[in-house]
Symmetry: C2
Subunit: 127 residues, 2 copies
DNA sequence: GGTGTAACTTCCCGATGGGAAGTAGGCACC
DNA sequence: GGTGCCTACTTCCCATCGGGAAGTTACACC
């Protein structure tokens, strides 16, 4: 039905949306604790901001809004003082979380192989 | 050992590299035919260019080079005329291919749910 | 010598992401 | 009662990145 290989297919736009470092990291984070081993749980904006080191406030807000619009996370405002905003995976988001966590884990487990390959490649190019 | 949540961790840079629509599409394509159901097989530059509609030559070349440097694909030049260049998944690339194919499939199978969520979100915002 | 093709490569420009500073709004402190 | 602080944004500016199109190389065929 849908085919992301086609530029005009809506699934291509969706793929562009969900492929991106911040989406991978946010969905990985929301599904578990900092070590990414726990169960899915809601997290506060400030908690995400701290966990995803290097993320700008702008990108965090922007990415979370997009994920909310796409029905992957839900946003809850609690009128404490100051206000508390929590983000939680929806069922749909949970299904993608499992993939994203695997992608993040792949990067971490295969880092050494990739680094070795880069050294070999760069040495060959210097010849 | 590695933790992609940390901005300074090498695995973060690797995650940035492999998260991106063209990487997902190229690795999905190389692992199978146009319908993404076959076995991994080598593909020519021009074949990839045709399959991934909308990709610029610049981005295709650039992404393939990066994947080659990282040891995910191998590049073979056959001195026909004009030259034939084929790209093939390495074992390392094959392991990532399985994840990428799932991500692409996720986008295609969940497109309807996401589209529905967007409509709901936009309507609520218009109020 | 002109033409054609595959696989790039280069140049230009508009879009996108990061950094930093500004905003809202409610309470707490002096 | 005015100043300050806190969270969660929002805005502005600029550097980088991606897309589009044209140029390049190498050789074979006409």
């Amino acid at each position: 039905m849908y085919d992301a290989f086609l530029a005009v297919c809506p699934s291509r736009q969706l793929l562009e949306r969900i492929s991106g470092k911040w989406v991978v990291l946010i969905l990985s984070a929301l599904g578990s604790g900092p070590d990414c081993t726990g169960d899915p749980r809601p997290m506060r904006y400030s908690e995400l901001s701290r966990l995803l080191s290097g993320v700008s406030q702008k990108m965090l807000t922007q990415t979370l809004r997009a994920l909310e619009r796409d029905g992957l996370v839900s946003r809850t405002v609690t009128p404490t003082v100051p206000v508390t905003v929590t983000y939680e995976l929806t069922d749909l988001g949970l299904s993608l979380h499992r993939l994203m966590r695997d992608v993040k884990a792949w990067a971490e487990t295969n880092m050494d192989d990739v680094a070795a390959s880069r050294v070999t490649y760069d040495e060959a190019g210097a010849r």
